[in-house]
Symmetry: D2
Amino acid sequence: MENSKIIILINCADQPNIIATVTTFVAKNGGNIVYIDQHVDREQNTFFMRLEGEFNSADFSMAKFKAVFKDTLVNKFNLKWRIYASDAKQKMAVFVSKYDHCLYDLLGRYNSGELGLEIPFILSNHNDLKPIANNFKIPFYHIPVTKNNKAEAEERQLQLLEKYNIDFIVLARYMQIISGKLIDKYPSKIINIHHSFLPAFVGAKPYHSAYKRGVKIIGATSHYVTEELDAGPIIEQDVAHVSHDHSVKDLIAKGRDLEKIVLSSAVKLHAKRKVMAYNNKTVIFS
Amino acid sequence: MENSKIIILINCADQPNIIATVTTFVAKNGGNIVYIDQHVDREQNTFFMRLEGEFNSADFSMAKFKAVFKDTLVNKFNLKWRIYASDAKQKMAVFVSKYDHCLYDLLGRYNSGELGLEIPFILSNHNDLKPIANNFKIPFYHIPVTKNNKAEAEERQLQLLEKYNIDFIVLARYMQIISGKLIDKYPSKIINIHHSFLPAFVGAKPYHSAYKRGVKIIGATSHYVTEELDAGPIIEQDVAHVSHDHSVKDLIAKGRDLEKIVLSSAVKLHAKRKVMAYNNKTVIFS
Amino acid sequence: MENSKIIILINCADQPNIIATVTTFVAKNGGNIVYIDQHVDREQNTFFMRLEGEFNSADFSMAKFKAVFKDTLVNKFNLKWRIYASDAKQKMAVFVSKYDHCLYDLLGRYNSGELGLEIPFILSNHNDLKPIANNFKIPFYHIPVTKNNKAEAEERQLQLLEKYNIDFIVLARYMQIISGKLIDKYPSKIINIHHSFLPAFVGAKPYHSAYKRGVKIIGATSHYVTEELDAGPIIEQDVAHVSHDHSVKDLIAKGRDLEKIVLSSAVKLHAKRKVMAYNNKTVIFS
Amino acid sequence: MENSKIIILINCADQPNIIATVTTFVAKNGGNIVYIDQHVDREQNTFFMRLEGEFNSADFSMAKFKAVFKDTLVNKFNLKWRIYASDAKQKMAVFVSKYDHCLYDLLGRYNSGELGLEIPFILSNHNDLKPIANNFKIPFYHIPVTKNNKAEAEERQLQLLEKYNIDFIVLARYMQIISGKLIDKYPSKIINIHHSFLPAFVGAKPYHSAYKRGVKIIGATSHYVTEELDAGPIIEQDVAHVSHDHSVKDLIAKGRDLEKIVLSSAVKLHAKRKVMAYNNKTVIFS
């Protein structure tokens, strides 16, 4: 007989006895805790916890567990909570434009099983990367975006996202502004890669700005998309050393490696439900 | 009224309900858990946990808590355990020879309050660094070590360590082999800095070996001292990039920075009781 | 009218006036020096130089230039020398087995034009990666290697390398020992990726060894293949931090990213003729 | 008989034959070139070169060499140029306020001979760090700065700088704005350490800003001081990874290590005359 494994994410005002109460609740309901980590934001007086538990699958009903969890704990501690089956793979939509490096990187990892998720489709405002989608046998949708068809294009995007039951979206160098409507439907569920070390060089052409400023290090930042451009909660960042000898073109080439690693790392963290966003920041569990 | 804060470290065979039982025990005894992290070594089937709890100090007795902990939990789970008062600063002895960079670094951090410990004395087999000890107003003991006086020198070291109630020892580039007797008295309590990226270049003159091999990265490693030379549990490592342009002398200069940072980092982790050593490896809690 | 650009690589015993003599020679023959860098190995008393010059292409003959260079300079300084047309793309053969991550990475970069070389064919002792070669429209040769057919397999490899005028070979996780015969034909022209921070963990299963030793950093090393296993001149290394929390499987996943970046970086350096190997080490020009 | 070693730094509009002409000039005047590196900024069409030459000291006169250099080359190429004796140690003034970590670090390196310069005095607007100056036996000047005495304080600073023939100034966490008058007298000769990864978080309290933004990496930047605050040419940068778990206080502690390493690295580069500043950027020679 196999085990059922679940992930519990909670946050609430910091208060005594939360950890003991929740762990005891899990134990009393037949669960063995195999992972627990917590964080307290002292400034905001907020408590965060991520817990994984294993249950004997013969006896275990997710629906029943959630119901009891809600009755017993949620009101008592005024919890915000999410409970997931560990083996339920999230469905991720990939949005791209013309750059292929992040797409190749994600699909290579997808093929190797490293990402732990499903990619039901790839969407682009251009047709250039369709052959790559074909090679990897993933449906490709071409939805052009122009000044005049924005609302309509967005409507088609939303229909696709709903049709495929998409859990979250990755913008793998998708060169379009995401509208507030889409952001509201997928809060902390749209992951972008910005090709600079935020908050330095927000906006377009960061490598050109970095070259002009003569920085000795460039970076890349993955973050959740919010209404304010390039200002959402940061999930992951990485950097590389550069010198006066690097042209803008060299910075772009070096930056591609950073973008790939930082974006795929953020995707993996999100897929494993290790990220909690709040107050425009993130807690990243180990 | 102030709070009493304690740190609990346990390890045992992995088994169900440990986390829930221990956290409930702490809660029932009036403690609020402010930190919990755990690790399971699947290969060794071993469970590790570090927990911090706050107690109302009017009611709290450390001795009583330890006694109840022992009675209630230790036999039940066959625990190995340690409980400390969080604010009890450990006493660290510093052993040095003639190199001063790690000593300056540690004492600079000590002065700024960053280390969170006490340094009752500095010991050396040479007199060269006595002026530094004087500047920082820390007692300095000169115990020469020769081929013929090893046993006697060690005896004097042991007497000093006991007299000052030393908790752990840092070898800040102390260029002598530590005897088995001392190691046995301070198991996982003697921290060494090795000036290479272990396990590459064990033994003497690692920078010369690194130069000869033409490596593009050099490193430093802090580890607990065990009987086998440079083979004890690794606490912290860091690296720096080098090129063909670096002479042995350049590698040594670049390496000094690594040694300082890696050694002080290991000292801080040990001082905050965030390291558990087992099976010649370490678990480092966040 | 376009310019002809050449690369000159020389090494010899260190002696006065080399730089001035060579740069003057280039200038007198109508060349404008656009890059110059040099290195002196003081221990070996050896001088290395890499120089790029631009010539007016109407007047310039590579054959004539080489002849004059040889007559004027080579005997005078007892030079070892190589002169290349900068725009002559080298031909690189890719050897693989079953792992696809380094192959995907190289081909993605190849497609984007980042590598600055040609890949006439991919060779493997297995058939698994043939579809990837097909996707990228590169000829794929399957040459199985068994205990009994080694000499014959090697003969077929050599024939292919000659037929396609291959300049150098990259072993993109090719899991076979390269024979001395092949190494002799391609000295400092076979690039391997070793999945550890050499010289730590030579040989097979380095991630398992790293896990067992409990290191806090893992690495990858690209080097030229020599007769002694994993002991050839190091071209590039990089590392990533790990913790007790990483299983062997995690180390392998994290290591794949290092392998890709370190191997492609070595390939680019070699393709741009920025590497000089000597005395089992490398000089890497900027 | 000993050798005289000189360093030549030049920049000018990029044009043919500079390298050959200069190297030939050095050779004809009895010099053996032991280092040469150059850089061309294609955007600005500007050429930079750093060259080291060894001369037989019996015959060599620096004054004569400079005169001939000027007559022969400077007008011909419209050169900006500087020539130094390699063994002439620069005189560096250290400005501090109350933070001691950068001062300790610089003086520790100074004592070990690593910096290759002289420190004639330490200046502060506070008296707190006088004991450290005393320990290292370096004159200490206390020049308080208030709203009302700025011009007068600056006058006293200038007198000290002139009296001691200071070549350049390092601001080792000196918490005062440097006036335009001082900057004009020491252009590209005042090195500051900014405790963030510029251009992110310019101005005061960058660690607080970094905490608020939830960045996953913090940095430090050393740069030449210009009239615009924190906007001068960047010499060196480095970074460290942080997490949600780091408080502002933790960021400050981690940042101190970065500040020390980045500042001392910039000081060493400047001391060895490896930095050329232009167009608000730097060329850093190897």
